[in-house]
Amino acid sequence: MPFSDLWTTFKAGYKRFEKIMHAFGNVVSAVFLMIFYYTVFALFAIPFRLSRKKNAIPSSFEKPHATFGTPEAFREEF
C-alpha cells in the first residue's frame, strides 16, 4: 500500500476515533481511569494503605505547609 493511502486510512481512522471521543469521551475516559484506579494506582495505594494503620492525615494542629514571606514564595504553583 502506498504511503499516501496509509496516511488517508490513518486520518479516516483518527477522525472516527475523534467522533467517538467527542460523543463518548466522558465514558471512555471514565472507563480508562477506572481501570487505571484498580490496576496502576492500586500498586501505589495498597502499600500506602498497609503502611498506615488508620488515617493518613493528622488530626490535631500541624505546622503550616507553606510560608509567604517573600515574593518568591508566590512564584510557583506548589
Binding site: F44, A45, S59, R75
Partner: protein
Amino acid sequence: MKILGLSFFYHDAAACLVIDGVPVAMSEEERFSRIKHDSEFPKLAVKFVLEQAGLKPEDLDVVVFYEKPFFKLDRIMRSALTTFPLAPRVFVESIKSLFTKKIWVRQIISEELGVPAEKIFFSGHHYSHMASSFFCSPYEKAAILTIDGVGEWATTSLGVGDGTKIDVLKEIRYPHSLGLLYSASTEFLGFEVNEGEYKVMGMAPYGTPKYVDRVRKLLRVNPDASFELNLEYFAYHLSHNRSCSKKFFELFGPPRDRASHFFTRTSGWPSYFGEKPGPGEYEKLAEQQEYYADVAASVQAVLEECVVGLANQLHKETGLTRLCLAGGVALNSVANWKIVAQTPFKEIFVQPAAGDAGGALGAAMALEMVQPNAKRSYTMMHASYGKAFTSAEIEETLKAEGMAFTRASSETDLIEQVTTALEGGKVIGWFHGRFEWGPRALGNRSILADPRRTEMKDIVNTTIKFREPYRPFAPSVLAENAEEYFEMPNAMNHHPARFMLFVAQVRADKHSVIPAVTHVDGTARPQLVFAEDTPRYYKLIKRFGEKTGVPVLLDTSFNLKGEPIVTSPKDALNTFMKSGMDLLVLEDYLVWHP
C-alpha cells in the same frame, strides 16, 4: 504596583484589582454572568475591574491566583490513596477535572489575559483568606482565624498579623473540617451544599439544641481546641455528591425532604402554604419539622462551641485582643457575635466576601505586602467596589424597555418620595452607586420595606423574593441609633456590623417596634449605616426615622430566590417586573409597578 487577584474553579469566581495597596474594584463573576456561584474563569469580572481603572491586561504588573493548584492536587491524590478502594468515582472525577483544567491555572490565565506566564503568581488558599481580612482591617496587630470547608490542605488556620506580615502559626488539615461538618448537616436538613448553609443558620432559632450530644459524636475536640471528625459519619471524602454516610442517618434518622414545607408550632402554618392540614396531620408534620429545627440548632451550637474554643486558644497563645476572621465559616454571623460575647476578643474584623471570592482580594493584598517597602494604607470601611451606572445608561434602558418613569428633581425630592412610599407600606427596589462586594446587599442593590409592619416579612418572602417563609430579614440602622435597638455595646466600633456579619439581640422593648426584622429568637443581623460611607442610603434611613420615629429599614438583597443579586439597570428591571415590588428606584429615576 498594579495587581490583579483572581479566584476561580471552585466556588465563587472573582476578580480584584489592587493598585498601590488599595483595592479599586472587585466583583464576583456571578454578578456579570448571572450564573449563581459561577466558578469559571472570571472573564467578565476581570473586564470590569480593568475598565474601572482604565487599564488593559498588559498594564498589570502581576496577576495572582488565590491558591496553589499543585498543593491541591497533592491533597486529592493522597486522599485517593487513603480511601482506596472505596472512592473510584471521586478519583475519576477529580483526575478528569484536575488534569483537563484545574492544574493548568498559569496557562489558562496567560491565555485568557494575554499576560506572560512569568507575571503569574500563586498565593496559598488560607493565606489569601487571612490576608483578605488582616490587610483590610484597621488593626496594626491582630490574631487571625480562618475556618472554611477546605483549601489546599488546611481547613482551619491560626495566625498573627503584624504590620505587613502574617505569621501562620498552625493549621488543621483535611478531612477534619468544621466547614464540611456544617455542609453535611446542610445536606441532611434538605438544602444544597455550598448554598444552603445560611438557611441552616436561619432555621436554627426555630429549634432548641436538644441533640448537641449526638452532634458531638461527629467530632472529638481536643483540649487545645483542635478537632477531629469521626469520618465514619461522613461521605464527602468518598463521594462527590454525598456528605453524610449511612451511619450519619442511623444517628439522626432520615434526611429532611427538600420539598417539604418548613414550619413549627411557633411559626404556625402560613396561609401561602395552601390549605392547612387537619389537626392530626398538622401535629405530625409540625413534630417532624421541629425535629429538623432542633438538629439545626444543635449543629449551630456545636459549631459555635468549636469556633469560640479556637478563638480562646488563639488568644491564649498570642495574648492579643483583636481578631481578624476569614473563610466561609466567618459568614456565620451568629458565631461571629459569640466570639465577641464569649472570648477576650472584643474587636473583630471580617470583610464582606469572607468566602472563596474574597481569596482574590486576599491574594492581591498578600502579594502587595511582601514587596520591598510595602506599607499599609487601607481599611475597608464599605463594600461599594462593584460597577455603577450613569443616568444616561439608566434612561436608555428604561426607554428601550418601554417603561413609564419619572425623574426626581433632586436627591431631597427622591428621598421624600421614597420614604413616603415606604411609610405607606410599599416595597421598593433600591439601586444606587457601585454594587456591593460579597454576598450581602448593603443599600446599593437592596429591596427595602418598612420594618414596623409585621406582615412585611411574609410579603417580601412570598410575593417579592419567592423564598422560604422562615428566613429572616436584616435591618439597616443608622450607626448612631444602633445601641438603642440592639444589644450591641460600642456598636459603632464593631466593624462586621457594617457588613451584616453580626447577629445580636434586639432590645426587648423594640421587638414590637421592628417586628419584620426581629427573628423568632429575638435576634437580628443589623447593618450599621454611616453617613461618610453610603451617604444617600444614610439620608434615606434618617428621613424615614424623622417621619416615623424609627431610623431602621428592612433590607434584603435585590434578587429573586436562586438568582445572583442584580448588577445592571436591566437586571433590576427584570427582577422588578417578575416580582411584586411596588416601586423601583434606579438612582434618580422612579418606576412604579404597572
